[in-house]
């Protein structure tokens, strides 16, 4: 009787050990799904950010466009197959100084531009930082033209950071296909 009692006292801890070993498996699976769910949400926010870049720039809303970047963001343009650095802007103020007059000029000429950004692929993804590449085609259409014309193609390589106000561009680098 005593021997049986002792054996049961051994069995119970083993049983709880088994439960404890099982629990992490389930917890990791849940955590993983939770993590995947959060990542899917972050991914969608970044895709929306990329789309907002097109909408804001193409509709000439420069304040909204600038708000997509961190204060110290870098925007660069490398041109042609040799990838020559053509433009390097460091910080939001430099972005505004460069972009605002260009957009105003295009608007005065009656040019409607469109940035078609497709096939975004994430190349790294951490909790508060991600990198991705996106193919882009830019078209221009003058008010008197019946069809748009293709102006640029290329690839954006982006770095995003998660701020208190959501995901922002920390770096946007365009590798344009022509000089």
């Amino acid at each position: 009787m005593t021997s049986t009692h002792v054996q049961w006292r051994l069995v119970l801890p083993v049983f709880f050990l088994c439960c404890a070993l099982l629990a992490p498996g389930a917890t990791f699976a849940d955590r993983d799904h939770g993590h995947e769910g959060r990542r899917a949400g972050d991914r969608q926010e970044i895709l929306d950010l990329i789309s907002a870049y097109s909408y804001n720039y193409d509709l000439n809303d420069i304040p909204a466009w600038l708000s997509l970047f961190t204060e110290d963001a870098v925007w660069a343009w490398y041109a042609g197959p040799d990838q020559t650095l053509a433009v390097l802007l460091d910080g939001r103020q430099e972005l505004e100084d460069f972009v605002a007059p260009r957009r105003a000029n295009l608007a005065q000429q009656g040019v409607q531009m469109r940035h078609y950004q497709t096939n975004t692929t994430f190349t790294s993804f951490e909790r508060r930082r991600a990198t991705a590449k996106t193919i882009v085609l830019v078209t221009w259409q003058y008010a008197n033209e019946t069809a748009p014309r293709a102006i640029h193609t290329g690839v954006y390589e982006d770095t995003f950071v998660k701020t208190r106000d959501g995901w922002k561009f920390e770096e946007r680098v365009l590798f344009a296909d022509h000089n």
Partner: protein, 179 residues
């Protein structure tokens, strides 16, 4: 007495079995069914990444990585605007024989191609087989040209299979809008 002694032994056996199941299935639960855990949103994302990889590898003329996106016995087909079959390549050996010299030719001519693939819709998904439809615009730009030229528009009908947890093209058919 014998009966009383057998209960703890049986309990120990059960615990041992539970422990074994925990050890075996714990990692399996955490890893899930391949990378996507079989969840439709994750599957969609993996297919979108595969479709994007088609653009990046082809446009960078990386035939090895491009062929790596296909099953060995995959089919690649080209249909004209009336649905007439123009070209059918069966297996990656035939695909390599057709596309490798084309990519070499494009490189020699200094042509930068871009495949802009958008609006992918999932048309079927069951188990390890999925189908999608994707609109495509292809541009070419010679080194001497200031702007890209639009070369093709059309759509892809794709069939994907998942083997060893990884999605690949099983069939890719392009329906081009021009003769």
């Amino acid at each position: 007495m014998t009966k009383r002694n057998s209960s703890p032994s049986r309990a120990l056996s059960v615990c041992a079995m539970v422990l074994a199941v925990a050890v075996v299935s714990g990692p399996a639960l955490a890893e899930g069914n391949g990378k996507s855990h079989g969840r439709p949103d994750a599957v969609r994302q993996e297919l979108n990444d595969l479709i994007a990889a088609y653009s990046y590898t082809y446009d960078s003329k990386d035939i090895v990585r491009w062929l790596g996106l296909f099953e060995d016995d995959a089919t690649w087909s080209w249909f004209g605007p009336e649905g007439d079959l123009v070209l059918e390549l069966n297996g990656t050996d035939e695909m390599r024989a057709f596309f490798e010299p084309r990519l070499v030719g494009l490189t020699q001519q200094g042509v930068q191609t871009r495949h802009l693939q958008t609006n992918t819709v999932l048309t079927a998904f069951k188990g390890n087989v999925a189908k999608t439809r994707t609109i495509v615009l292809v541009s070419w730009q010679y080194e001497s040209e200031a702007a890209p030229r639009l070369v093709h528009t059309g759509h892809y009908d794709d069939t994907f299979v998942r083997t060893r947890g990884e999605w690949k093209f099983k069939e890719r058919s392009i329906f081009v809008d021009h003769h």
